[in-house]
Amino acid sequence: MSMKGLLNNYGVWMVAALIILLVPIPFGSGFALSIASQMTIAIVFALAYNMLLGQGGMLSFGHAIFFGLAGYFTIHYLNWMGQGVVSYFPVSLLPLLGGLVSMVLGVLIGLVSTRRAGTTFAMISLGFGEMVTALTLIIVSFFNGEEGIQGDRWVGPEPLGITFGSDVQVYYLAGAWCFAAAVAMYAITRTPFGRMCNAVRDNPERAQFVGYNTQRVRWLAFTLSAFFSGIAGTLHALVFEHVGFETVDIARSGFVLFMVYIGGTGTFLGPVLGAVLITWLTSILSNFTEAWYLYFGIIFVTIVMYAPGGLAGLIFMHEPIWLTDPRLLRRLLWPYALGLASVLVALVGIIGEMEMIYHLSNDITGEFVMNLYGFDISLRNTVPWVICAIIGAIGLALCRKSFPLVAQHWHQVMHEARERVLQ
C-alpha cells in the first residue's frame, strides 16, 4: 500500500489510536508516562511545524513562540479559574482555547512575516523569536522570568471523577488531543488549501498565475500552524503544570526543527517519527553520554547532507519496490545488514574516540579515568586510544567496501521493480 493509501485507510488510524490507548499498560511509571505525554506533545508540535516547513516551505527559527505563549496563557487561565477571576472552562478543552490564542498571534505575526518566503521569512521568524524570548524575561508580572509560572490542572468540577490529577489521566488527555490534531492536520493536507500550500512551496510564481495569492496561502498556513502549535503548547502546560522561557526560546524552535527534519519533512509520518525518536533519545541518551548534543548535531547534519527526505524519506524510498513486489525487498536484506554492521563498527570506534576526548577535556579531577563500553580505562594509557582507532578504521574500511555493494543492489532491485511495472 502506498504512503497516501496507507493513511487514507482507517485501519492505520485505528492502530495509532490503539497504541495511544495501550501505552500506559507496559509504561505505567510516572517517568515513563511523562515521556509518553511528552511524545504526544512533540508529535503535535512537529506536525504543526511541518505544516510550515514541509507543506508550506517556510523555515522558521522562532515557531516556539506560538507553543510557549499558549502555554503561558493556559497556566494563567488555570490560575484565574482557581481564583475565580474567570468563568470555568473545562480543562479538557483548554487546548482549543490555547490554540485560538496562538492563532490570533499567528494572524498578527503572519501578516508581516509571510509576505515573503525563504531567507526573509527565516530571518523575521528569528527576530520575533528573540524579541518574545527577551520579553518573557523582562515582563516579569506575566511571564515571571526564568522561573516561569506554575499552575494546578486540578480545578473545577470533576466529571466522572476525572481530575487530571494523576499522570495517566493527563496522558490520555494529551493522547486524545494528539490523535485529534493529527487527524485534523492530515485532513488539511487533502484539501484545496493543502494542495495549494504545496504548490506555493514548490513554485510560488506559477501559483500566482492560477489565481492564488501566495501571501494569503502562506499566511493561512502560518496561522493554522500557529493554532496547532498552540494546542501542543497548552498540552505541555497541562502535563508539566509549568511554563518557563525555555518554552519560547530559540532552542525549542531549533529542537522542533531537528525533530521534523530528522524524521522527514516530505511525508506526513516523518515528523511523527522524528518526534517520537528524538524525545526518546533525549530522555535516555543523556544518561549515557554527556556528548549527546554533539551526536544530535552530527545526525542532523548528516541527514541534511545525505538524506534530505529524513528517516521517513529513507523508508518511503522503498515504496516503489514494495508496491511492485514486497519479496524484492528480501534481496536488499543482507546488503543492508552488511552496510549497517560496517557503520556500527565504525561508530563504535569513532564514538569511543570522541567520548575519550570529551572526557579528557572535561575531566577536572585530573584522574583521567572513565568507563567506556563497560570497561574502566585510564586515558593516560594509549591502548584504548589505539584500539578505538583500529576499530574505527576497520569500520570505515568495511563501509568503503559495503556501501557500493548496497548501492549496487539497490539499483538492481529498483531496476527490476521498474521493469516489472513496465511489463
Partner: protein, 419 residues
Amino acid sequence: MNTSYLRKLLLGTLLGGLSVLPAYAAEPVRLGLIEPFSGPIASIGLETLDNFNFAVEAVNKRGGVLGGRMIEMVPLDNAMNAEKSTQQVKKAIDMGIRVVVQGVGSSNAINIIEYVNKHNKRNPDQTVLYLNHAAVTTEFTNELCSFWHFRFDANVDMKVAALATQMGRDPKVKNVYLINQNYAFGKSTQEASNKYLAERAKHIKIVGDDLIVPFGKVQDFTPYVAKIKGANADTVLTGNWGPDIIRLVKAVASAGLNVQFYTLYGGLPTTVNAVGTEDGMAVHMKQVTEQLVEDDDRKDLQPYFESYLDKFKRTWYSDRIRFTVEMFAKAIDKAGKEDPEAIARALEGMTFPGPHGQTMVMRPDDHQIQLPMVISEMSRDVPKRFIYEGKDLGIGWKTMNWVSREDLTLPTTCKMERP
C-alpha cells in the same frame, strides 16, 4: 559515570512500574541529585556531583547512617531544563528514591518544589523530600514555602543583607552603583539591594541602578562603564553571574576605573578563572560566602579541605554541600528511618556548627537555614592561594569581615502547612 550506576539505571528504567522496592538493611540510602550533567553548563552540575560524592564519602567512611547503611548519590540529568527536572523527580520516585537534591537554577527548583508538593498531596504514602543546596530565590521560603523543601543556602535577601552590612562598615564606600540582570533573580537582587542599603548603610548613596538584558546578550559593557564613571561611583554592587559579570569586570578593568565590586557570584571559580586575576584584582573583587575554608577558625576542617584539594586539584568552594549532607545524615539518624516526613521533622530546628564559633540553625518556620556569612576580598597576600583545575591562580580570598547569624535572621512570611 560507572557501570554499577548504568546497571541500576537500566534496572530502574525497567522496573519503573514497581515503584516501591523493599529496603534491605544493607541497601544504600539513595539521594537523587538533579542537576545539569549535559548542555552548556554541565560543568557546574558535574562539579556539584563531585562535591556531593566527596561529602557523602566522609559520612560513609564514618559508617554511614541508620546503623551501617551507606549514602549514595544518584545523578539525574535535567539538562538545565525545568520540565526535565520534574521528569527526573518522577524517575527518582519510580526508582524508589525518597530524597532529591538540587540547587542549580531557580526555575528548576520552583518546579521541583511545586511538583513535590502536588505529588506528596496526591500520594501521601510515597512522599518525597527536597533538599535545596543553592537555589536562592527568597520566595521559596516565604510565600512559596513548603514543608517538603529545605534550603541550605542563604537566600538573596540574606546575601544582599550581608553585603550591605559589610558595605556599611566600609568607609571607602560612598556612592554605589547597582547593576543587575533584567529577570526574576536580578530584579529581586535589585530590590533587596535598595532595601538593605537603606537600612544597613545609611550613609551610602545609590548613584545608579541599571538592569541589563541577561544571559550574555550584552556584548559590550563600555556604556555601562561610562555611566559608572559618570555617576562618580566608587563601588559596584551586582548580582550578575556568568558572562554578564565576566564582561562587566573586564570592561571596568580595561577602562581603568577605580571602583570596587561587591558581588553575589563574582567568586565562582569559573568566573574567577575567566575574568583573570589581573582584572579581578583591579576591581577589588568581593564575594559573600557561607565561610572561607582558608580561615583559621576552620582549622578543624582543614584536613577535609586538603584531601578535597588533593583529589580534585581545586579549592573547596561550596561548603554548604558539606553541611547539607552532614545535616541530612544527622537528621535521618535522628528519625531512625528513611521516611521523608520523619527526616523533615528531624531537620526542623536542627543546629550545626558554623564558622566563627556560631551555630547554624534550620529555622522550622520556613525551612531556611540561618547562618553567619563571610565577606571576603580577592588578594595576593593570602596564606593559601586559590587552586582551580590544578592551577594556582596566584590569588586567594581574604576574609574582610563576617556578619553574624543574628544580623542575617530576617523575618519570614511563610505560613507552613504541615502534614
